[in-house]
Symmetry: none
Subunit: 129 residues, 4 copies
């Protein structure tokens, strides 16, 4: 559960870490009930601004990934998907569309894109990165 920040990435720091935490939840690196480092600790280890660390946890709590308990800390939420399946579909479809348009535009075929997706899927399952 070691997070890393790529400062040469245009993506904001807080989004980079959010993505990594979500990934850990997906590939089993983090399980429901697991406790995460405190905001101060996270800020210290990642050497980021405490307000940025707070933002990370707040967003994740807002999305239902984490549960923040006053004075106790942050914990991975139980897998209770309270999001409407329509909404889920919409979110994933939007990502899929972006990926497809970009890939096709850059000259890839549908099959080549599928191969890339598969590779990423394997890498997620293995807990890589």
């Amino acid at each position: 559960m070691l997070f890393h920040i790529d400062y040469n990435n245009s993506q904001p720091i807080y989004q980079q870490v959010i993505e990594q935490i979500k990934l850990s939840v997906v590939n089993g690196g983090l399980n429901p009930g697991d406790q995460l480092p405190s905001i101060r600790e996270l800020a210290k280890t990642l050497r980021i601004n405490p307000t940025t660390a707070a933002r990370i946890y707040n967003e994740l709590a807002h999305e239902g990934v984490l549960i923040l308990r006053q004075g106790q800390g942050a914990f991975v939420a139980p897998k209770v998907v309270s999001v409407a399946s329509e909404e889920i579909h919409r979110i994933v479809a939007a990502h899929a569309r972006k990926m497809l348009v970009e890939g096709l535009r850059l000259g890839l075929t549908r099959d080549e894109i599928d191969i890339i997706i598969d590779r990423e899927y394997q890498s997620i399952q293995k807990g890589e990165r």
Copy 2:
């Protein structure tokens, strides 16, 4: 070739329109050599500021999607992809990863995600949206 802006979308409007133009180029709605509405015209129809419209075309010209000719207008560029294949792979893989993590996190299976991708692919090919 009708573009639309969703003001409830957190994505900046110039990026929304950029995506839509790229999509049109991919699904054949726009072909190399086709002329696009002028900056002023685009600004008028979308009811955005001309400088924002200019930004849309400028970014697309930078990316090699459009060609801007002073005094003449904006045209779809010929398909000459000069992007390194590594770079293409990297871009698509990043999108794929985001999509997979989000889908899996929200409880979808790999198969369900594949179905969504396929639906999006079909919709792009048909020139929908």
Copy 3:
């Protein structure tokens, strides 16, 4: 003495033609006293706006490359360099600097740049392009 316009070039039409005429003068395709097509003729063959054709000749006349005689036409000027050598030096140095900075920035060595220069020099002498 056939000029061509690359509409996929960001460089303005009038500058493209000016460059080509200058090149012809340099490599002997056009010699002092030679008559050029009239403005109307140039506009017609290149399928450009007559005002653009006029601009081409006016700029070249201003730079001393051509001489425009009312009612007679445009002629290549005799090689009387009336430009101060300082000025010449300044102009060429500016071009050289741009070329060097761009080449070095993109990872070329001085020798590699020299090779490119030499190749261009040969191509100019041969009257290519």
Copy 4:
């Protein structure tokens, strides 16, 4: 790292500054990781509009020369040239051709041009200007 604007120059000021920054990167005045003045600071010192200053940094970021980090500032990018060597050659050759045509047209010999190039090269290496 002092930039200057020549208002008697027909070249747009954002391009003048871009060139100067590229030059600094080439001659070692600016190294990867170095922080540049903020957009607002640059605008203030050059007495230009902040949006013009932003444009300078944006273009350089697009070209991969700088990296902009929201909330942090602008930094010189690490030297990762991902431009196709064909493209590099094409760019430098175009500059070389322009320089040669102009020099020859104004009566310089090949040797005289080479001397000017060499002088510019020395001046770039020394970090002059």
